[in-house]
Amino acid sequence: MTITFAIIAFVTITATVAAMSLRNLVHCALASAVAFGGLAAAYLQLDAQFVGFAQILVYVGAIAILIVFAVLLTRGGEPTEEALFSRTWLAGTAIAVVVFGVLAWTIRNSFVSQRETTPVPDATVKEIGDVLMNKYVLPLEVIGLLLTAALIGAVIIALKEERK
């Protein structure tokens, strides 16, 4: 564990906690943007340039903006008076811990953890592009089709209904 990783982890976790516990929804959205940036920094620290920059471009540039817009268009961003913790927080925490325990136990015992770790490949952006365009071209096309369908659906929802 290096010092840079410690700093990145601290910033990310603090921002995530802030995103969950702040009262003002816009503050929460901005804190989650910081958390997205922290994740991107973690990717970059692992030398994954493409994933890191794509994370910033997509999450900070698009998803954070989407969240902020959604907040503004729905409830005006004023702080709420409700209690921060719901009444069932104890049960919720217990369930979360149990789920985490089960998942961790399964992963520890599965063959994945016994697999030998391959040496880290020096994946350049060019190699990622090559693999996407050759080996994984079909999944890429399917995702493209899915996103196009979502786009057309959004346009249809946003269209003005014609009055007869």
């Binding site: 340039q49 903006i65 952006v125 060019k126």
Partner: protein
């Protein structure tokens, strides 16, 4: 001789590092090297900003048949110093209802990504702060941070005009980001690399009289024009300055900022314009290469800055000439006109790549580019009633 002048700053940096390596421990040297690369960026481009504000005001003045600033210094060229001092000593006003922390952070968050974008911009031979494998991607990734800063400024001011301005700015930036990025994809496809240095390398040869810049190909010309239109919109400049449309929403998202915070917004806007013009030069206009082979004797950075200043002058000219768009026109232009043209341009580039060099691919390339422009333009205008506007009350 020309080699010495060309590399004078690079050699100066190496000499300084050599000097410092005697004093400093080994582990600090990479940090020193980065700082030495960044200091010129931090010094030169804000300096260029100062000169540009005066040039712009004088140029706009001439276009509008007036003098422009002419009191401070010779021909008013020291106006920027007066403006800077004014911004520094002005009272810093924060609205009582404002969200203080975010209101303070917004200008800072806006300036940082703009400066970061300069790190991948090659301003001369061997003169790039960081030669990144994914340079162009880095450029757009840091650019995404500015949208959030604009929102922070608009929302935290608690002013309906600033919020409207921020909403407009974000809608515009998100819409024009798509044609902006897609128009650079043609160049990336041709070069096969995202590194800005490699992109300039691919344009370094000369073909007869003309250099092999991408702008001298059908897809490159179309890509360059689309890129510059999107860049204008992305940097919120006229004719796309709706986010700060004075006649409608006073000043947009920075309405509640005064003094030096306002100056920071101003600085970020101009630096953003320079860096995106610089990227346009890198992608389409051959970067720091000279337009003629015999002119390569002049230092490379001179050519880069000559091109940059030319671009800035063109942008000032556009600002003085074209009226502001309406919001629906802006959105229609981005989604119905720019986006199809940019997508068709990708196909043009692909066809150009797979056809044999010769006259045939020029004809095919140009016919796709011009044909799509004409057909799309006609189709979009066909349903519209274009005539002199009649007013019921005002005349």
């Amino acid at each position: 001789m020309s080699e010495t002048f060309d590399q004078i700053f690079v050699n100066l940096k190496h000499w300084l590092i050599g000097l410092l390596s005697n004093v400093l421990p080994e582990s600090l040297l990479p940090l020193v090297s980065v700082i030495l690369s960044l200091i010129p960026i931090m010094a030169i481009f804000p300096g260029l900003f100062a000169i540009t504000t005066v040039l712009e005001r004088k140029g706009l003045g001439r276009i509008q048949n007036r003098y422009g600033p002419n009191r401070v210094g010779p021909f008013g060229f020291l106006q920027f110093a007066a403006d800077g001092v004014k911004a520094l000593i002005k009272e810093d006003l924060v609205p009582r209802a404002a969200d203080k922390v975010i209101h303070f952070l917004a200008p800072v968050v806006l300036v940082i990504p703009v400066f970061l974008a300069y790190t991948v911009l090659p301003v001369g031979r061997n003169m790039v702060a960081v030669d990144m494998d994914a340079g162009v991607l880095f450029f757009f990734a840091v650019g995404a941070g500015t949208e959030l800063a604009v929102f922070m400024a608009g929302w935290s001011s608690r002013n309906k005009y600033s919020l409207l301005g921020a909403m407009r700015a974000i809608a515009q930036m998100v819409s024009y980001e798509i044609p902006l990025i897609l128009s650079t994809v043609t160049v990336i496809m041709m070069v096969g690399s995202l590194s800005t240095v490699k992109i300039i390398e691919a344009q370094s040869t000369y073909h007869g009289l003309l250099p092999d810049w991408f702008v001298f190909t059908p897809w490159g010309l179309a890509g360059f024009i689309l890129f510059m239109i999107s860049a204008l919109a992305e940097s919120n400049r006229s004719p796309f300055d709706l986010p700060e449309g004075e006649s409608e929403i006073i000043a947009g998202y920075f309405i509640e900022y005064s003094g030096f915070k306002f100056a920071l917004f101003f600085l970020a806007e101009y630096l953003g314009m320079f860096v995106i013009s610089g990227l346009g030069i890198t992608l389409f206009l051959g970067g720091w290469h000279a337009p003629l082979e015999c002119l390569e004797v002049f230092p490379s950075y001179l050519w880069f800055f000559a091109k940059l200043i030319t671009m800035i002058l063109v942008l000032i000219w556009v600002r003085g000439t074209v009226p502001r768009l309406r919001m629906d026109q802006l959105m229609n232009f981005a989604w119905k006109f720019m986006l199809p043209l940019v997508l068709l341009n990708l196909i043009t580039a692909a066809i150009w790549h797979y056809m044999a060099p010769g006259a045939a691919r020029w004809v095919v390339g140009f016919s796709i580019v011009v044909g799509s422009y004409m057909l799309l333009g006609r189709a979009l205008f066909s349903g519209q009633h274009l005539a002199k506007r009649t007013y019921r009350y005002a005349e």
